[in-house]
C-alpha cells in the first residue's frame, strides 16, 4: 500500500480523499492555490504545498508545479479527484514515467475513452447498444448531413473532446444542420482546443442512467448498480439517486453486463462509470465512459456499503478486487443534492464568506463538504460547496429524510441552491419518479 499520497484537488473531493487515506493509514499532502491557503482540505492534510495563484491553469492544472510538489514531499501516488487533471492522459503518462502512481486508470485508458467517438466505435464493434449516430468524427458538413439523414431528426452534435454540455447543438430540421455544425465546431475548438465533433440521435425526454464499475489489474470487473442522474440543468447534474425508480432487477443486470463488457473492451482498470441513455421504452444506449471518480459516487457507497475512494486506492496499489459480483448487495435507496453557492432562481454565482455553517445530522444523513463557519467561497472554481446525501430503507424514506435534512441545513452569508432542492423534493413528478433530462427545464419554466 502507498505510504504518502498527494491529493491534486481542492474542496470537498480533496477532503473526501484525505479522509479515505487517513482511514487506510496513508499520509496525505494537499496542494493549494494562493486563494485556497486557508481551506479545510489544506488543514486536514498532513502536509501542504502552494502550487500557484488562484487561476487553476497556473495552480491545480499546472503539471510541472503539481509534480514538483509530489517530488519534494516524496509521495508515491497522486489522487486527481474529479475535474482539473483527473482526465488528463498526458498528466497520467508523466506520473507513470517518473514512477509516481496515478490513482485512476492508465493513461492509455484515459486517452482512448477520452475520445468519445472512438469509445462508441469500440463498444459498437462488440455488438453492444450505442446511441445511433455517426460512426466517428464528422470530417465535413457533407458527412454530417448524410449521417443525420440516415439516423433521422432530431439529432445532437457533440464535441469529441466534450463534457459538461459544451460544444453541443440539437438540430430538429435539415435546414438548420449547417449552421449548427459550424457553431459546434467553433465552440469545441475554443473550449477544448479540438474542433472534432460527432452526431447522435437526439432522444426526447430520456433518462441519464450510469453504471459504476470497478476493475482490477487482472481484468476482473464488477458493477455496483446504477445511478439515475436525470435531474440536470444545462447538462450539470443537480440531484442523483440510486436505485433508479425505473430500473428493475432484470434491467439492472442487463445494463451491468453491458457496462462490464464495454470497459473490458477498453481493457479498463480502476473505478469508472459507464453512462447510458435510457429511452421511454426502456431501451438503453451506451454514451461514454467517465475515467474518474464522479461527484455523485457517494450514493453508490450508501447502498453498497463500499468505500469507492478506498477501493480506488487499493486497486491503484495493485490489490485484486476483494469482492465478486454476487457479493454486491444493494440496500435501500440514496439521494444526493448538490448544494451550490448560487442564487436558487437565477443561478448566478454567490461567492463570499459563510458567516454560519450548520450541517444537518442524525440517522441516514451524510454531508460531504469542505465548508465551515467562516469559510470563504472563492469565485475562481466550481460553485458546488456541499453534497447532501441521504439513505433510507426505500425511496420514500430517503426522500423524507432529504427534506428533513435540507430543512436543517444552515448556510448564512451567501445564497445557495437549498431552496431549489426543497422545491424539487416537493414536486409531484419527482416524487413519483417521473423525470427525464428535460424535467428541470420545464420545472424552472413553471
Amino acid at each position: 500500500m502507498f505510504k504518502r499520497v498527494l491529493v491534486a484537488n481542492r474542496g470537498e473531493i480533496a477532503l473526501r480523499v484525505i479522509r479515505a487515506c487517513r482511514e487506510l493509514g496513508i499520509e496525505t499532502v494537499a496542494i493549494h492555490s494562493e486563494a485556497d491557503a486557508s481551506g479545510l482540505h489544506v488543514r486536514a492534510a498532513d502536509a501542504k504545498v502552494c502550487v500557484g495563484p488562484a487561476d487553476s491553469s497556473l495552480s491545480y492544472r499546472n503539471i510541472p508545479n503539481v509534480l514538483s510538489a509530489a517530488e519534494i514531499t516524496g509521495v508515491d501516488a497522486i489522487h486527481p479527484g474529479y475535474g482539473f487533471l483527473s482526465e488528463n492522459a498526458h498528466f497520467a503518462e508523466v506520473c507513470e514515467s517518473i514512477g509516481i502512481k496515478f490513482i485512476g486508470p492508465s493513461s492509455e485508458n484515459i486517452a482512448l475513452l477520452g475520445d468519445k467517438a472512438k469509445a462508441r466505435e469500440i463498444v459498437a464493434k462488440r455488438g453492444l447498444p450505442v446511441t445511433p449516430g455517426s460512426p466517428g468524427e464528422l470530417r465535413s458538413e457533407e458527412e454530417a448531413l448524410q449521417a443525420a439523414k440516415q439516423i433521422g431528426f432530431p439529432v445532437i452534435i457533440k464535441a469529441i473532446a466534450g463534457g459538461g454540455g459544451r460544444g453541443m447543438r440539437v438540430v430538429s430540421r435539415v435546414e438548420d444542420l449547417s449552421r449548427a455544425f459550424q457553431a459546434a465546431q467553433a465552440e469545441a475548438k475554443s473550449t477544448f482546443g479540438n474542433d472534432g465533433v460527432y452526431l447522435e440521435r437526439y432522444f426526447l425526454e430520456p433518462r441519464h442512467i450510469e453504471v459504476q464499475i470497478m476493475a482490477d489489474q487482472h481484468g476482473r470487473v464488477v458493477h455496483l448498480g446504477e445511478r439515475d442522474c436525470s435531474i440536470q440543468r444545462r447538462h450539470q447534474k443537480l440531484v442523483e439517486e440510486t436505485p433508479s425508480p425505473v430500473v428493475d432487477e432484470k434491467l439492472r443486470r442487463e445494463m451491468g453486463r453491458v457496462a462490464i463488457e464495454a470497459v473490458k473492451a477498453a481493457q479498463y482498470r480502476n473505478v469508472g462509470t459507464v453512462e447510458f441513455l435510457l429511452d421511454k421504452d426502456k431501451n438503453f444506449y451506451f454514451m461514454e465512459v467517465n475515467t474518474r471518480i464522479q461527484v455523485e459516487h457517494p450514493i453508490t457507497e450508501m447502498v453498497t456499503g463500499i468505500d469507492l475512494i478506498k477501493e480506488q486506492i487499493r486497486l491503484a496499489a495493485g490489490h485484486p478486487l476483494a469482492i465478486r459480483q454476487q457479493d454486491v448487495v444493494l440496500t435501500g435507496h440514496s439521494i444526493e443534492c448538490r448544494i451550490n453557492a448560487e442564487d436558487p432562481e437565477k443561478f448566478t454565482p454567490s461567492p463570499g464568506t459563510i458567516t454560519r455553517y450548520g450541517p444537518p445530522g442524525g440517522f441516514g444523513v451524510r454531508v460531504d463538504s469542505a465548508m465551515e463557519s467562516g469559510s470563504t467561497v472563492v469565485p475562481y472554481y466550481d460553485s458546488m460547496i456541499a453534497k447532501l446525501i441521504t439513505h433510507g430503507r426505500d425511496r420514500q424514506e430517503s426522500m423524507a429524510r432529504m427534506k428533513r435534512a435540507l430543512g436543517e441545513f444552515t448556510i448564512e452569508g451567501i445564497k445557495t441552491t437549498i431552496p431549489l432542492h426543497h422545491r424539487i423534493l416537493e414536486d409531484p413528478d419527482f416524487q413519483k419518479g417521473h423525470v427525464s433530462t428535460t424535467f428541470l427545464e420545464r420545472f424552472l419554466a413553471r
Binding site: E34, S38, D46, A47, C50, G52, P64, G74, I98
Partner: protein, 169 residues
C-alpha cells in the same frame, strides 16, 4: 514506486507560522515607521499600511509562508517577481515549486551571501523542479538583506527566498 524521502514533510498547521510572522511584521513596523497593521482572523490575511511622506504602498502577507513575509505573484512570468514593498525591501519569491539550491553544485561557492551587493540579472539561486535547474535572477541592483530559505530545502509557489534592499547598492 519510488522510495519515500526521509525529509520531514512540511508542517501542516496553518497557524504555526503566523505568530512569528506577526512579530516580524511588528519589528518591521517599528523600524520603518509604519502606522497601521490590520489583522483579519479568518483567512488570516495580514495587512500593513505605511503612511509615508512620499507614497504609501501595501504588502500582503499570506500564511503559506513558513518564516517570512512574501509577495504573491499573479503575473504569469517565469522568472522572479520583485514588486517594491512598503518597507523598502524587495522580496524575491519562488515562481515554481521545487528544491532551493544556493550554489550551482554541492562543492561550489554560494551564488550570494547576506550582505552581498547584487546586480540586476545576477543569478541568486537555483530552484530545481522535475530535474530541471531553474536559475533565479535578481531583477534589481541592491544588497542581500536576508536569505530566507536554507540550502537544499523544498520551496512552494510564492515562497519568499531573499530580501533585497534596493537603496543600499
Amino acid at each position: 514506486m519510488p522510495e519515500i524521502a526521509n525529509e520531514p514533510i512540511p508542517e501542516a498547521s496553518l497557524t504555526g507560522g503566523s505568530g512569528k510572522q506577526i512579530q516580524e511584521l511588528i519589528d518591521l513596523l517599528r523600524r520603518n515607521n509604519l502606522t497601521e497593521l490590520e489583522f483579519e482572523s479568518h483567512g488570516t490575511r495580514i495587512r500593513v499600511r505605511h503612511e509615508a511622506p512620499v507614497k504609501a504602498t501595501t504588502t500582503v502577507v499570506q500564511e503559506s509562508v513558513p518564516t517570512s513575509p512574501q509577495q504573491p505573484t499573479h503575473s504569469a512570468s517565469t522568472t522572479t517577481s520583485v514588486p517594491e514593498t512598503a518597507i523598502g525591501f524587495l522580496t524575491v519569491t519562488s515562481p515554481i515549486v521545487g528544491t532551493f539550491y544556493r550554489s550551482p553544485s554541492p562543492d561550489a561557492d554560494a551564488y550570494v551571501e547576506e550582505g552581498d551587493s547584487v546586480k540586476k540579472g545576477q543569478v541568486l539561486c537555483i530552484v530545481e523542479a522535475m530535474k530541471l535547474m531553474n536559475e533565479i535572477e535578481s531583477e534589481v541592483d541592491g544588497r542581500i538583506v536576508k536569505i530566507l530559505v536554507e540550502n537544499t530545502k523544498s520551496v512552494e509557489y510564492g515562497q519568499a527566498l531573499f530580501l533585497i534592499d534596493p537603496k543600499a547598492v
